[in-house]
Symmetry: C2
Subunit: 388 residues, 2 copies
Amino acid sequence: VSAPSGVRAPRAEGSPRTAGPQSLDELETPAAVVDPRLVAANARRAAEYARAHDLAWRPHTKSHKSRAVGRIQLEGGARGLTVATPREAEVMADVTDDVLLAYPPVGESKVARAVRVAGDVRLTVALDSEAALEALAAAAARQGVTVGVLVEMDVGMRRVGVQSAEEVRALAGRARALDGVEYRGVAFYPGHIRVHQDEQEQPLAELSARIGRLLDVLGSADLAPAVVSGGSTPTFWRSHEVVGVTEVRAGTLIFNDREQVAMGAADWADCAYSVLATVVSTAVAGQAVVDAGSKALSKEGRGAGGTFGALLDRPEVTVSGLSEEHGILDLSATSWRPTVGERVRIVPNHVCVSANLQDALWAWDGDHLERWEQEARGRGPWLPAPAR
Amino acid sequence: VSAPSGVRAPRAEGSPRTAGPQSLDELETPAAVVDPRLVAANARRAAEYARAHDLAWRPHTKSHKSRAVGRIQLEGGARGLTVATPREAEVMADVTDDVLLAYPPVGESKVARAVRVAGDVRLTVALDSEAALEALAAAAARQGVTVGVLVEMDVGMRRVGVQSAEEVRALAGRARALDGVEYRGVAFYPGHIRVHQDEQEQPLAELSARIGRLLDVLGSADLAPAVVSGGSTPTFWRSHEVVGVTEVRAGTLIFNDREQVAMGAADWADCAYSVLATVVSTAVAGQAVVDAGSKALSKEGRGAGGTFGALLDRPEVTVSGLSEEHGILDLSATSWRPTVGERVRIVPNHVCVSANLQDALWAWDGDHLERWEQEARGRGPWLPAPAR
């Protein structure tokens, strides 16, 4: 098998395009709007940074769940794609021949789906338990395919990952011994490090020392990892400060959001995603109510001052409250007084969960409107179309 | 036109049923599971309470977005259904002939969709602005249909609703004067009143006094409302304490959730909805990680102690953290130590936003598994099936 290039030729899908809306004005709200020029620019900049530091950028596609955006990431210079669910793996295997499932497939059906993807493209799985490893290896061996394995280590976030270099070594050794899987390296996720909140380099230096020790332990055991997969959007531009890292998975930066801007990981002008909404009520003084609520923006506060979003063109206007279908625009910092029917675009706190709430993404370059499906939303495979 | 009965004969849908899983064990996780026996019991109890107090129960269907659950509500004794979006209106018009759109349709496409529904079933719309009223009336008149109108008044939540009885009177008078619409009454939503947090009857007494004054003002202007639509799940069982109310829209009680239990509006045993999840990691001591994250449960804290859910069968085990595909089970209050692969059922804080994240609801009565589509999820009408 020759080394994968990362990009896969698009399948002929005979996409049945409905007539549909031609401009933002014709979109019914709420609707997710992305600027394809910013998406492409964000992808290029990330890939350039990675190239400059001899890193592979393997972006996580959970932020968009769309083949179209995956293709832009690859065309911009991404080396393969990262996914979290079987559905994402299946869909992204249509656009790249090199998929990292950064999540252990646990349970018969998930293992079977992962193995099926591995029969089609180069698949690597990150995991942290012998239980997950053994089940995956057994299923892969039965099907005569090979699944790559990264052993995940916890570097301080305390979510998943084995707790010590010695445990990594043990699981890596077990992976090497089993049929059906191939030990490829290690993975970690520094999701607890918020660069902006702690300007000193200590957290990254500590992380780097920890990875260095891990590499020593593995090297001594003849288990030197081919892949050291790390990276998050908040720490992305400083990924090169962590010794030994070979690839970074940061995905949110394809769109950016209010939280990334608050952390200093992006500028407001880099925000490529917003939710188009319509003012539906101005009955209560000092505020306007729009039709984008928690079912379009998601109610995640996430260190953005207790508010849930801000207007793309008027960032001083924040979303101070959310019900399921209502967003409350706080007008206290503006003299602007919208009327019922007026439209706004809202940048959410956390774009990945907002994008997951949409029927589709609408790409608008100021001139041309295109619908980008989010084929990897939902769980599948039992996803018959709604009866209607 | 004869008075609607509320229930509409089901359409023949020729539902193409896939083989699919036959039991909870065969479901891939995360998956939303509902107990149809509890759903039916919750519906019956609500309808019985309403009947005993001469109120109509017109439940909000945003909590489930499913024709199947709408039918159970109607069979249990609901009188028509409430919706928030055009999509919900279109879908629920298949199961009832009497729909309340408790949300102003603002924008050409939403108005057109509302008017189309009004050509098919009895439709009433709650609104709070002349702009929304005039656009709706004009479109309805053009199509030769009549849309009922409730004028919404703010009773303290400060979300939507005109601010005084006099404003209600003015808008009601305008509705009566316009072709295409029929003034039917008033609506309010006491979403700010949390019964359990304030056991004294003052909030409800104040609300009742406020509605009483409103009825006086309207009565004096020959605008006595045929419908006074109110009610929320937290205040549901005390709706009869508010003078003049004719219908209550409470919908969450069909499932209940952790927040309703915390407020004393439901018992844990009334919780009909949970998310089935699989343990995927036990690498970090004191916790277990499941595959239900914020994309299955939603990250809404909502006064439930800063945690995001609890196990149905072990409510002392809470979800202490959520990433998009990871839920952290806090094991500090239990001696139970789950292993990778073990399955749990999690009751979320806010069921309506969790249900909105699912591909479908799985009805499990302990013996038989049935898939209930959520046809009203998403926005439509441009909803072609995913290409794959």
